[in-house]
């Protein structure tokens, strides 16, 4: 990468290469903070079956880390977050093509889980593309690429609702809790619950997914929101759903809430659930 008058040049080839590496790393190497979260959960879980299941998740991470079998057969939709420094110049190719080519390469031995047409469902795209790409332009001259392979289970139990301002915090809590209760074991608990509140419908949904990028255990920097996160986590863990929905007191490992200013008429709430195979890997170019 050469710097010319404050502009950093990054080649499409380099982007493709690192995206491919992220696809592999994310599907075999579970982050230590997830494994630590499982270990902490074993100590707190009162259901013997629940503890057994959590131990299996720890062992699974260890075996998958050897690189022969991925953590889960659902190697997911490739969701890619790009934090693009506004002084970055991408050369020798189109950014989105580079990302998709990286996914194509990185998923060669992983499952091809994408169908071309959601209505007819007849044609698998055969290379796990297209990726879902979210770009944020930021100050500076770096490109941060984060891959979050997103499985179907958690996604299928996610939801958005346009509440009324008069529904208030209680209405928000009820929506989130009802959604988690209805999901039961389907999203493979213990889950991570990402929440976006405010903005417009799509902004809330994106915030919910972005909130899942937070390091495990990190609470919102806004005190009221942090309290809401803890309160919801406790309520979710009182539902009795437990690991795999087979009963227990560890149903969720974290509730992460991001808020954004809202229209005076709206209270959008989005919930994006992730399963216990919570995968994300990043690199900064």
């Amino acid at each position: 990468m050469r710097e010319v008058s404050g502009i950093k040049t990054i080649s499409a080839d380099r982007i493709k290469e690192v995206v491919a590496e992220l696809c592999q790393a994310a599907n075999y190497q579970l982050d230590c903070d997830m494994v630590d979260a499982f270990k902490e959960a074993v100590g707190k879980e009162v259901s013997p079956l629940g503890r057994e299941i959590l131990q299996q998740m720890i062992m699974n991470a260890e075996i998958a880390g050897k690189g022969e079998v991925p953590l889960c057969q659902d190697t997911g939709f490739a969701v890619v977050f790009l934090e693009l420094g506004q002084n970055v110049h991408i050369v020798d190719g189109y950014l989105y093509d580079a990302v998709n080519e990286g996914v194509r390469e990185g998923y060669r031995e992983l499952r091809k889980s994408i169908v071309r047409n959601p209505l007819t469902r007849k044609e698998n795209t055969r290379d796990n593309t297209p990726a879902v790409i979210h770009v944020k332009v930021v100050p500076g001259d770096k490109l941060k690429i984060t891959l979050m392979p997103k499985g179907g289970g958690g996604e299928n139990t996610s939801g958005v609702k346009m509440l009324k301002p008069s529904d208030g915090v209680d209405g928000v809590k009820k929506f989130i809790l009802d959604l988690v209760k209805a999901a039961r074991g389907n999203p493979c608990p213990p889950i991570l619950v990402g929440v976006g509140i405010g903005g417009t419908i799509e902004k809330a949904a994106l915030l919910a997914k972005e909130s899942l990028l937070r390091p495990m255990g990190e609470r919102s920097k806004i005190p009221d929101v942090a309290v809401l996160e803890e309160d919801l986590l406790e309520k979710i863990n009182r539902t009795g759903i437990g690991p795999q929905g087979l009963g227990g007191r560890i149903t969720a490992l974290s509730v992460n809430i991001e808020i954004f200013p809202a229209h005076i008429a709206s209270l959008p709430v989005a919930v994006n659930i992730n399963c216990h195979v919570h995968r994300q890997k990043s690199i900064v170019l």
């Binding site: 998958a64 022969e68 991925p70 953590l71 057969q73 031995e109 698998n124 179907g152 929905g245 009963g247």
Partner: protein, 185 residues
């Protein structure tokens, strides 16, 4: 605490009658991977007369779509997918003699009633531990629909494949029973 039990496919009514909700079971023999598109195609071919017999009597369907098989391995990662998406197809399969399904997550009340009626069991496998259960799958081949990729109809040969009885033929339902046991409020 119930003793765990080892069973071998195909399953007879006698074996199914012994299984109780919450029991740890180790499955041996052949099981058949089928999921969303597999079932859709299966039933379309049956209804259009392209196949006359699904030949499921006594067998177990495993709701799963494996990742690609690497050189030297018998199968890719092959853990369970969410069973409720296939609820719509199960009563008819059980009417045709299917004796068991393996997946994750609870079934609909209608399907639970059908399992009692047709004397078939639902086994829960833990989701997201594909690397750990890999050693339980000792053989695989595509039986039909190779064009469906991960959703092809696979025959897996399993050895002590670990599952738990989620619904038995007596109305026992592990999700209903255990969740209410641990719920507070």
């Amino acid at each position: 605490m119930m003793e765990s039990i080892r069973i071998t496919t195909p399953l007879t009514d006698e074996v199914v009658a012994e299984l109780r909700v919450g029991q740890h079971v180790y499955i041996n023999g052949n099981i058949y991977c089928a999921r969303d598109s597999t079932h859709e195609k299966w039933f379309r071919h049956l209804d259009q007369g392209m196949i006359t017999d699904l030949a499921v009597a006594g067998h177990i369907v495993y709701y799963a779509g494996p990742s690609p098989t690497k050189a030297g391995k018998v199968i890719g990662a092959c853990g369970p997918t969410t069973s409720s998406r296939m609820d719509k197809y199960l009563p008819r399969l059980m009417e045709l003699g299917l004796k068991g399904t393996i997946g994750k997550g609870s079934r609909s009340p209608e399907v639970v009633q059908a399992m009692i009626k047709y004397k078939a069991v639902y086994f829960a496998a833990v989701g997201g531990i594909a690397a750990l259960i890999d050693k339980s799958i000792v053989g695989s081949r595509v039986v039909a629909f190779p064009d469906l990729g991960a959703e092809a109809l696979y025959q897996l040969v399993v050895k002590d494949f670990p599952v738990i009885v989620a619904n038995d033929i007596y109305g026992g339902d592990i999700y209903a029973e255990e969740i209410s046991k641990y719920a507070l409020d």
